[in-house]
Assembly symmetry: C5
Homo-oligomer: 360 residues x 5
């Protein structure tokens, strides 16, 4: 695994583009980002019209023609387009600034004639990426503005609009907003599953010993899970807000579905917390295991070295070349030396035995 | 203990079946699960009728005939049956989706004419298993849908219905719902007792030293206790909700019993927390013990090696074979060498003594 | 200290007797427990009557004759007696079940004509023991049911009733209940003091080095303090409840005393928390100390070994017995060897010095 | 630093004198404490009268004569005096008991005609000491009862009363109570500053390596900061209570000053928390540093020993005295042995190099 | 990095100047601080007047002439000037004392005719510095008093006032206060970015091993982040207070902007928490890595030493110079010794292999 590549998002989740002290509501384009792609789906019980909009002017007027109009903008590379969009739909400058600084915490802001929701979707290819998705929910339109990363978690919703004359086609903009939020949240499940698989692998690795690489992987996994948690956590407040709200924006029935969605958020949050804690547990477990193995190595070394070092000294003693060493000339000198060594070795072994060094 | 076998439930407590972006209320069967078994017990003060239902159609009508009817469905292997059951009892699609995704957090949802409760029972054979049990509590029926694992914690309740013309036979569906929830919660106690036994064993093992296996067992035990906690914890909210509720579903008298049940949940939660913390304590204790033993081994090694390595060097010095080594030819060369060694050894011992290395 | 003997209470604080799924309110006797001893003290401003009751029948009638009647039952060995007591005083079955499962969390339950309070007293002889004490507070009686451990913390209260015609004799059952609860709580202070002494000893031991035993003692002490905390903590809610309650059970004046008692609970809780944290601190301190000493031993060993191992090698080299080793025959071979050794040793020492190994 | 001397206060912050089960309101003298010294300052806009009172009788009457009377009692050595004082000022027995058990948590109790405040001042000479100060605030008097430690933090207040005809002389008893509480709280700042200095020193020590003493000092400092925190923390509730209170005891204007005082308490609490956490950080930092140095020593030892042990073995091999060792008689035996050694040493060095042991 | 230089602010964030027991509202000058510089900007939709005020007298009168007047005071070196300013604008003495003790926690105090706000700006040159900025917001003036560090985060606001006839020129004093607070908060972003860069560097360093310096840097970084958190955290309460306040000081519209500012505070707080936690993670990761490397070194040493020490002993044995050692004279003595060595070495290697020492 290329660990370095995956880190930036973990260390630096949120970076701001507008300079400090700038006038509030300043909209600055992201130069390296793709130019915005605008795609409109207008539908009702009777039919669906889908088109790629060349320009954003006239979009607001369009929303009058169908029961529900969904305008999806992909990419923040052109400040003028976003600004124009703001004028079209009369969006608040502060909301626009948030859209262009795609590192907001998910939140809900109620404006007079629309609700502004910031959500954050995740994807995990080579490394974990999060994408800010801004939703403006009006009377009969939903405007979504994505950062413009390739891929999108809304395709199943598009399919449901196109194919079936089901609940979504008979419901209003509030249900569409729910369906989009639900798609964003549901997309956390497969990502979480992949982290679960990695954890399983790591657990298995560590159970059979683990190596230096395992430690780095635990560290990496925890960082990613922290990033995931930071991305998900504020959605809890968002949905609590949406469910609580007594205003006209969400119908009673849709609110029931939103509560279900909140349940999913809680479940994901719990699982992330569990995985995160499990990473710490694995690290601690590995640390104790390492201590255990070091202790074992240390004991082996100590027993062997403590046993043989004195014996070798005795051997070295009688290996000295002094001319006048009476023991060397004794007939029983050699057996005596062996006896000395045996008795030293025996007493050391007995001492180790009594201290319990051979037990575990 | 086969640790690997026990892990999946610990790492991956909740996995979702419905794909992301699917329409809410989608009911997907679990292919590897057994087909649903439907068992009906209808009773009142006057008698008990018990039967295995071949089909779910007509079940709702059946509930009109007795004071209380308990329909128990075991197994989620056939989506059609569950769907049909939903139609029979007019259950909300979102509730049905929750039933089929058997990894919900325990919760209560109040619908117009029934209460939907998700609980989670535990069993510990070779490894810890949790099973989702969904309860629908209506005016005069209780519908329980289990995941279909072999075994069931409801047998004592069945016995009480069958044998005695006691409180349960004279009470309504709300008391039956309480009795079933109580049976689910009470079943945590023997599981907890077994973990208590394991902790006792581990504690004993570690007090007499412990080995590498002990560390893995602490890790495993903690994971299991985490899983147990995740399973139990949300019941607290469930019972708080049930006790609080002023509506018609639970009578004043039954609510008193539910409060008792909530007490048990709190007691179990406290014990789990205690066991969990005790595992961490054991791990930390073991870590300090290991450090202590490593330190002891290190000190033994250091004393012996530091003592003999210089002595051996002196012996090696006079073991060299140079022709011109005047000391070798001195009459008192050998005693001199011994004296040098004794003085080196003595000063090292004194130094160690002064540094307190022989004390603890 | 016999650590094993002290552990069961620490690991397994609460164990339940009634089987899972049993009908609520089931009263099961504790076979190994002593049979209940019933002792009645009836008093008022005018006098005190004290007797050992042979049977519980007629006790409720007795309470009509004096201003205050205190019935104290010691031991849970006979379910019939407790059941009869329940009938006499019309106690709720759930309360009786709690009495017989002496591992309840302390709590208050308000029934129509009596208040049910569960408290937990502690004693520390050879090991920490906790005893459940159930109090039923009626209009003019207090019924206390103890688990039946030898000893009792109520003797000072009995003395105050017998000897002085003071506040307690002029007050009602509510003041007696307060006096008994106060005696239970005050009994925590001497136990806490003994743990304080042990902590002082441990602290002293560790300051002068500590041994393997110290670690086990810290572990044991923490476990005991955890058990103590679990015993005490819920009393806080109990007294909060009693102080808050606006009903008729406790008079305004008595509630002032209860608030004082709550202050003591808070003070004890704070001290337990402090001791508990201090144990962790001692353990962490010991761990760092061990690391420090290991590091020191390691450095000593490394310096000596690194210094002499190369020197010994040189000595070994010229101790080889090859016939053709020109150096051995040189006149200055021996001084040369010594010079080589000195230069090796000197450079190593200089290297160590520069790396700061001799500093601390 | 004499660590042992400083510990008692840290381990044992609160010890109770009244025995368990004693009647509430029992006042027990502290035999080792100095006898109470009573000092009265009566003042108003017009003048100040200051005297040492020989007896406490008639003090209450005295409070009628001046605008404000401050009675300060120093020392708890005579229960009779405190009891008499209680009668004079009609203080509640429970309050008196609290005064005589000088280990109360700081708190506020509102009685009918006076407010009872327990505060805790700190001083740091050789070791940290805390002193309980009880304040009874009446309509036109303040009664302060100190434990009787030498020194007092009220001198600046006395000076302000004596010297200037400023705010304090024109204000009532409530402002005096504020001034005294403010003096108690302000006295935490210099103590905190000294701990800040010690932390700076420790930080410096550890940056340049640290020794075994440093670890003990961190441990000691943390204990002291814990004690300081336990002393300060409850004042937050005290001031919250005083600021909140709508009754007549504190005027609107004084409450503004009390809020300022609460700000100081928060600031001190934050700093203590920060210092406390910094101690833990230092300890953890030291632990990692120790691990780092042990690792370095270990690597040095391993490289040297692993390199020379095999070489020494080869030298030892050819140092054996067998008569029939052909190599010894070869002309190129010696160079061959050297070549073997060089090749062993070279490959080991290469292996170490490849494993990155020489890098850092 | 010069670590020592950066520490003081981390250890000692808040130090008080006024002595304990001083009369509240005492204003003490900071002798080492620069004398106050007063700069006035008065503006409205029609124009901007900017001047350096020589004296503070008459400033209050000046505020009547323009729509909004902003008086900025830089430096606390002259108590008289601050005192005079207080008289001019009728500021509360306690507020003035807070201004002169520039280590207040950020807070809001509402006085009758002005709002007193304490904020804290940060800058990171060679080390992290925080500066207290006091804001008095009146009906048509804002008075800011800075500690007087060189540099200032208000320049962008000055530019916006001077250059554009935009929102700020058409708004009241409340909007100016918002703009200044926003500038203070926005200034945390670049500081945070630099810490993010340092963390990235550290992460990279540790991934490739790390050295003793890395540990010190993590420690330093964490201290700085703690200081940053202590500086920022209370702003959350400040903005919550300002947003909540229903009074006349902030208009509905400005409150919308303040909510946006609160969002930024939350985002910064979250990022600081994340960085702080990441530091701990890095430290723990490094600790496990060190343990891993020590374990590896230990195993290498143990294998080599355990293998060769017994062999060397055998060699030493036959290197003894006893005259009567029969083995030395055997023809096959040498091969026998070699065989003994080979079998010892072989069995040890097999033992190591079976214990899994060569695996990871």
């Amino acid at each position: 695994m290329n660990l370095k590549m995956m880190l930036p998002s973990a260390v630096r989740p949120f970076r701001r583009r507008t300079g400090p002290g700038a006038s509030p509501g300043t909209v600055v384009a992201l130069p390296d980002e793709p130019p915005p792609q605008v795609r409109v789906i207008a539908y009702g019980p009777d039919g669906v019209v889908e088109e790629q909009a060349a320009s954003v002017s006239g979009l607001a007027a369009l929303t009058q023609r169908s029961a529900v109009t969904w305008v999806n903008v992909d990419g923040l590379g052109d400040a003028a387009v976003i600004q124009q969009l703001g004028n079209e739909f009369q969006l608040h400058p502060l909301a626009l600034e948030d859209v262009m600084n795609p590192h907001q915490r998910p939140k809900v802001e109620a404006y007079d004639d629309h609700l502004f929701i910031v959500a954050r979707s995740v994807s995990l290819d080579e490394h974990l990426e999060t994408e800010q998705i801004a939703l403006f929910v009006g009377k009969n339109y939903v405007l979504t503005i994505q950062e413009g990363l390739p891929g999108d978690c809304f395709d199943p919703v598009r399919e449901r609009i196109r194919k079936t004359v089901g609940r979504i086609r008979h419901s209003g903009a509030d249900y569409l907003a729910y369906a989009l939020l639900d798609a964003i949240i549901d997309n956390y499940f497969p990502v979480l599953d992949r982290y679960g698989d990695m954890l399983d692998d790591l657990d298995e690795q560590l159970m059979s010993g683990g190596d230096g690489e395992s430690v780095a992987q635990i560290h990496k996994l925890r960082s990613d899970l922290s990033a995931l948690r930071r991305a998900l956590r504020p959605h809890q407040e968002v949905f609590n807000e949406l469910v609580r709200e007594e205003q006209e924006r969400f119908s009673e029935r849709t609110r029931l579905y939103l509560r279900d969605c909140l349940d999913h958020v809680l479940q994901i949050a719990q699982t992330i917390d569990h995985y995160h804690e499990y990473c710490s547990d694995l690290r601690d477990y590995h640390l104790v295991t390492l201590s255990h193995r070091s202790n074992e190595a240390m004991k082996t070394l100590t027993v062997i070295a403590t046993l043989f070092i004195p014996l070798s000294f005795v051997a070295g003693l009688y290996g000295m070349n002094f001319q006048h060493m009476p023991e060397l000339h004794w007939v029983y000198g050699y057996p005596m030396a062996l006896a000395i060594m045996a008795s030293i070795g025996g007493s050391l072994l007995a001492w180790f035995w009594r201290r319990g060094w051979f037990r575990g």
